[in-house]
């Protein structure tokens, strides 16, 4: 049995906003639950209210159009992203990244938005969405604000999201549709494991960007590079944004070495 909390399951966005405002600071949002139930199980958190957002239709689904790009609703789980035809056609990097998360059991349940809100430095969706220049839409009773994902993460497990806000969708710009891409994730074992280093690079005719995970307090992204940038330029741009540490899983030097190695391996795949 977990510690006591009230389970609330609003059916609309407005109902959710009201609950979040009323219980600000005393509630946590429940979507896939693959992180939050672990936190509850281990008594790391003790929210008075757990607000399940899966019944809210407005937060469901993946849509694509030529002007805005891809919209990923807050309750979209990894397997939905992997199987979505627009994602497969226009943003295959996202399907690739989502397929590298956890295990099948977790991919069937874990949400993309939740992966961002947990804000682990090794978030698998972080580096791919950063490379694609994604933004997140935060909603609350006070209104809606859209912020670039690169500004969303503020530290390990920390984001810009306020206690009364919800990450309601992720937006991937239309100009990144059809981007060439490559991704690598270094793990200790072949199966279910978190990244020691992950690198995703996306390239269109106008821009090239690399997102890196597990090499800084948050997932990070390079500045916008020219699509013709040489591999040495990409490596130096990556080195400007990473600051890996020694920890139980890997050393700083090994992480830096593998980051460079991954950029070199991905680079030929971008042309």
């Amino acid at each position: 049995m977990l510690q006591e909390f009230n389970y609330l399951a609003p059916k609309s966005k407005n109902e959710l906003y009201t609950l979040l405002k009323k219980h600000a600071g005393k509630s946590r949002i429940l979507a896939g639950g693959t992180d939050i139930l672990v936190e509850l199980h281990n008594h790391w958190i003790a929210p008075a209210n757990l607000i399940d957002i899966k019944k809210i239709k407005e937060l469901q689904g993946i849509t694509f159009n030529d002007s805005e790009g891809l919209s990923i609703g807050a309750t979209t789980v990894c397997i939905d992203l992997i199987n979505d035809k627009n994602v497969k056609q226009y943003y295959p990097l996202l399907a690739d990244a989502a397929g590298r998360i956890g295990s099948p059991q977790l991919r069937n349940r874990a949400t993309i938005a939740g992966n961002l809100c947990t804000a682990s430095p090794c978030a698998d969706m972080g580096c791919s969405l950063l490379a694609l220049g994604a933004s997140v839409e935060l909603g609350s009773a006070d209104g809606v604000r859209v912020i670039p994902l690169k500004d969303f993460f503020t530290g390990p497990k920390k984001t810009q999201i306020k206690p009364h806000e919800v990450l309601q969708r992720i937006i991937v710009p239309a100009e990144m549709a059809g981007a060439k891409y490559g991704m690598r994730k270094l793990k200790r074992i072949k199966g279910h494991d978190i990244a020691l280093v992950s690198v995703a690079i996306a390239r269109t005719s106008k821009v090239m960007r690399a997102g890196i995970g597990s090499c800084a307090p948050t997932p990070v992204v390079t500045a916008d590079l020219s699509p013709d940038a040489k591999v040495a330029r990409v490596i130096s741009a990556v080195e400007q944004v990473v600051s890996p540490i020694d920890d139980v899983r890997a050393s700083r030097d090994y992480r830096l070495f593998m980051t460079r190695d991954f950029v070199e391996k991905i680079y030929p795949e971008l042309f």
């Binding site: 977990l2 389970y7 429940l30 139930l37 757990l50 099948p104």
Partner: protein, 161 residues
């Protein structure tokens, strides 16, 4: 909170505690203790059940979230006292040693076979990557799933009893 769900084809209506996960709900409220708790944190897969056709860690889902859902557990495998083909294949291929991971392992294999009647070895490995087994070394489990899908070639050399 009152919830209605279907477990192994049978409908249940129960008053579920909001703070109880599906795993404990199945074991304590429904009385189906085949599903095991390993880590309780979504790492080991011992608690795997199939929910609406997809494998999930039942330790990471609240019982109240499963209102209206269809759940399959290990107890749904055997019919009239006869093991399912998949269970028989696990038995025959020595894919069970201590047995603790087996209910979850079989549910992952079950969901795979429901979606793909003839999975490749790579697909089998991917399907069970969220299920830890500390005894078998996995090879026998992979062979059992191949056998259950009619794909296991007779082995030369060492024969198994």
């Amino acid at each position: 909170m009152k919830i209605k769900l279907t477990v192994n084809g049978k409908k249940y209506e129960r008053n579920a505690s909001e703070t109880k996960n599906l795993l404990h709900f199945l074991r304590e409220d429904i009385g189906l203790t085949g599903t095991k708790e390993g880590c309780g944190a979504g790492e080991c897969g011992a608690c795997t059940v199939v929910m609406n056709g997809k494998t999930v860690n039942s330790c990471l889902i609240l019982a109240v979230e499963t209102d209206g859902c269809e759940i399959q557990t290990i107890e749904g495998e055997a019919k009239d006292g006869k093991l399912s083909k998949l269970q028989q294949a696990f038995h025959k291929n020595h894919a069970v040693q201590c047995g603790f991971c087996t209910p979850g392992m079989i549910m992952s294999a079950r969901a795979l076979l429901q979606a793909n009647a003839k999975p490749s070895v790579e697909q089998i490995k991917e399907a069970i990557e969220g299920n830890f087994c500390r005894c078998t070394g996995y090879q026998q489990i992979i062979e059992a799933v191949q056998d259950a899908s009619g794909q296991l070639k007779k082995k030369e050399g060492l024969t198994r009893a």
